[in-house]
């Protein structure tokens, strides 16, 4: 009976562990394994080639373009959505009247599936008679080729990414702001701190754990972006909106080049692992968690 009691906790963990192994660890290691093979429609039986897939990818200009696109996309969405989310949260925190209306209005994009939202945005972006150009036209501004112009297509995709999640980050920031002990804020006012000083020396440090969390979530969300790309531009025009997960998807399920797709996946996983652990060690150390 004692024996059973000892194993019981582990038994409870088994189902969760089971799913973790099947859907997380096994795919990671399989991707690592397959990245060492050439396996595609040209090589229907997989052939061991060591690291030649990696060499292949690192010498493909398109891979670097995709990496550049993904970094631009991530940095843009992170910077814009976090600052906008924080700004909105601070504003809503001040006004208690109608705050629920604002919260709902800003949060609802999170609840719409990205694929459905992308379809609607695609219609809004149509030149000349899409929603945006229609109103811009009334103001006398020439119609922009939002999704077809290589130079602005990526920015159009960034706009969708920001719009989708800014409400979510705002709600999280709001929770953080409302958790700041009033005594601290009062003390700062008493000491004569103005609005700016209050924000940078009291508010911002106190919500740093929320900020850190949102930052990590944001990195993950932005590097996983594929829905908008798949629906709105399919990586075009001329690969200007080709983001890393879409690039992997193309190789995996359109070209059926499982070797290269696995290699790309492994590269992405390793990058994320190293990057996130670096973030945790550097900025993570300076995050303030509430002390009881």
């Amino acid at each position: 009976m004692n024996r059973f009691k000892a194993i019981k906790p582990y038994l409870y963990l088994v189902p969760a562990f089971f799913f973790l192994v099947i859907f997380t660890y096994y795919p990671i290691f399989r991707a690592l394994y397959l990245s060492l093979f050439k396996w595609s429609t040209s090589y229907p039986v997989k052939v061991f080639t060591g690291f030649s897939n990696y060499a292949d990818i690192f010498t493909t200009p398109l891979f670097w373009k995709v990496t550049q696109n993904s970094l631009i996309y991530s940095v843009s969405t992170i910077v814009i959505s976090m600052s906008l989310g924080l700004f909105l949260a601070v504003q809503i925190n001040k006004r208690i009247r109608l705050s629920t209306v604002y919260k709902i209005a800003l949060f609802y994009p999170t609840m719409i599936p990205m694929a459905a939202a992308s379809l609607i945005w695609m219609w809004m972006y149509i030149p000349s008679y899409g929603l945006f150009d229609f109103f811009l036209g009334k103001l006398g501004i020439p119609s922009m080729n939002w999704l077809n112009d290589e130079r602005i297509a990526l920015r159009s995709i960034v706009a969708v990414g920001v719009w989708k999640y800014v409400g979510y980050y705002m709600i999280l920031f709001l929770a953080g702001l409302q958790n700041i002990p009033a005594s601290m804020v009062d003390a700062a006012i008493v000491e004569g701190a103005n609005n700016r000083q209050r924000f940078f020396f009291v508010t911002f440090p106190m919500i740093s754990s929320y900020t850190f969390f949102i930052f990590i979530i944001n990195i993950i969300n932005s590097l996983q972006a594929i829905d908008q790309v798949y629906i709105m531009t399919q990586g075009g025009p001329a690969n200007s909106t080709n983001l890393i997960v879409y690039y992997i998807y193309e190789h995996a399920f359109l070209f059926w080049n499982r070797g290269i797709a696995s290699t790309l996946t492994t590269i992405l996983i390793l990058f994320l692992l190293i990057f996130i652990s670096f973030i945790f060690r550097s900025i993570g150390k300076r995050v303030y968690y509430e002390v009881e």
């Binding site: 429609t41 040209s42 090589y43 229907p44 149509i126 030149p127 000349s128 008679y129 036209g137 006398g140 020439p142 119609s143 080729n145 999704l147 077809n148 112009d149 290589e150 399919q234 075009g236 025009p237 001329a238 690969n239 193309e250 399920f253 359109l254 070209f255 059926w256």
Partner: protein, 427 residues
């Protein structure tokens, strides 16, 4: 109480699963899944589902579930993925040039035995011969034509009249296209274009006929070589660039679907697109419009295109059932019905004599433009190569890059090297 409700829940779950599973294979009825794409504007998914429902009602040996699979690229992705996962759709409509790739992954069966049962060569002769070329490989026939088309030229007759052009004389050459485009283009007071002369989407299927008209070639018969860095190629790209930047009658980069909705909205006076969008355009546009052959250049030539039925390797019973579906769908009255509802060309000669179809084409001769172009003009095979997905993406991306402003010579050189690399394993 809690235990009873738990037991009830589990029992309900099991019953539902058993019922759902059982529904699929009633005694004797073969259950098939058919993936199909809609690659042109129009509510064709609805029409396809209606026709499949009629097939199901007409007999009880075979039950087909028609599954809309997006555009041609998505349908191919879905079919390949299902096949790789071990559960291919029994039947699929896919872009005809996917033949070599489908054979490379060994996913489809040749149809010669089935055809022999129907009368062999006599049966094949029932179909329009121009559509059969792309179904042949290694002396066998691998697919049956279904939604077949040629690119055609659409033009807005009201706008023609407005600028003093004869609405019954569309441009017949590239030079005339430019001339007409200049007259039709409209600019507002601040210099913004409110109406383009012509729109030409980024798509290999529109690029190939232009290349052929310039005297060039794109893919070889065996699908092992793509020639994209050629003087004729450069001529075509230069012509498109000139229309966009020199004559400014065309927006440089536009997607396939956008060009159709632009034509319907009247923001372009002329359009290159598939005949498959004909019915949809006719139903949506408020202007008087016409259809014509593609403007010619050094050669007058066009290409065929569209989707065919492919039977995937499953088992004898389901393959035979899939053949029954194909036979029914391609009956003259049914292919005529599909053509009426879409604008695609009927695949059998006998379809043109079906009473409803005859009435439709007598009332509206425009409907026959694509068919007449097919018969009267040199028509070549669609672009078909191995690794078709990579090659299509390559050609479309190259076109987008050049029209987006990249250096033509460098881009074509790179594209050619890439094409050679992709096809190297298939030499």
């Amino acid at each position: 109480m809690k235990r009873i409700s738990l037991v009830l829940l589990v029992v309900t779950l099991l019953v539902t699963i058993a019922w759902a599973g059982g529904k699929q294979e009633e005694k004797g009825t073969v259950y098939l899944r058919m993936y199909y794409p809609v690659g042109v504007a129009g509510s064709l998914a609805k029409l396809m589902d209606e026709m499949v429902a009629d097939f199901n009602k007409s007999q009880s040996d075979v039950y087909v579930e028609s599954i809309f699979a997006g555009g041609y690229r998505q349908a191919m992705e879905k079919a390949q993925t299902a096949f790789m996962a071990g559960k291919p759709p029994e039947l699929a409509v896919l872009d005809a040039p996917t033949l070599y790739t489908l054979r490379d992954i060994d996913s489809i069966i040749p149809l010669d035995d089935f055809i022999a049962q129907e009368g062999g060569d006599a049966y094949v002769a029932e179909f329009l011969s121009a559509f059969m070329e792309i179904a042949r490989a290694d002396g066998k026939i691998w697919s049956i034509p279904w939604q077949r088309s040629t690119p055609i030229f659409y033009y807005n007759r009201d706008f023609f009249r407005e600028v003093g052009l004869d609405p019954d004389t569309p441009p017949a050459t590239w030079a005339e296209l430019v001339e007409y485009g200049k007259k039709l283009k409209k600019v507002d007071s601040s210099g913004n274009v409110t109406r383009w002369g012509v729109e030409f989407a980024i798509n290999f299927w529109l690029f190939k006929p232009m290349l052929l008209q310039a005297g060039g070639e794109l893919d070889n018969e065996a699908g092992t070589k793509l020639s994209i860095d050629t003087p004729e190629s450069k001529e075509v790209f230069q012509f498109l660039l000139d229309m966009a930047h020199k004559h400014q009658i065309m927006p440089a980069v536009k997607s396939w679907a956008e060009t159709v909705s632009d034509f319907i909205a009247g923001t372009t006076a002329m359009l290159y697109n598939s005949t498959g969008a004909l019915t949809s355009i006719r139903n949506s546009i408020k202007y008087d419009f016409g259809t014509a052959y593609l403007p010619a250049h050094k050669r007058q030539v066009c290409i065929e295109g569209g989707g065919n039925f492919f039977i995937f390797k499953t088992d004898e019973r389901r393959q035979a059932a899939a053949w029954e579906v194909i036979k029914w769908m391609t009956r003259p009255e049914n292919t005529a019905r599909w053509s009426l509802g879409s604008g695609y060309i009927p695949v059998k000669k006998a379809a043109f004599d079906v009473p409803e179809y005859k009435k439709y084409t007598d009332e509206w001769p425009q409907a026959l433009t694509a068919y007449r172009q097919l018969s009267e003009v040199d028509t070549e095979r669609n672009m078909m190569t191995h690794a078709v997905n990579e090659i299509v993406v390559l050609v479309d991306t190259t076109t987008a890059e050049i029209l987006g402003g990249a250096d033509m010579n460098a881009t074509l050189k790179r594209a050619q090297a890439e094409a050679d690399k992709i096809l190297e394993a298939f030499q």
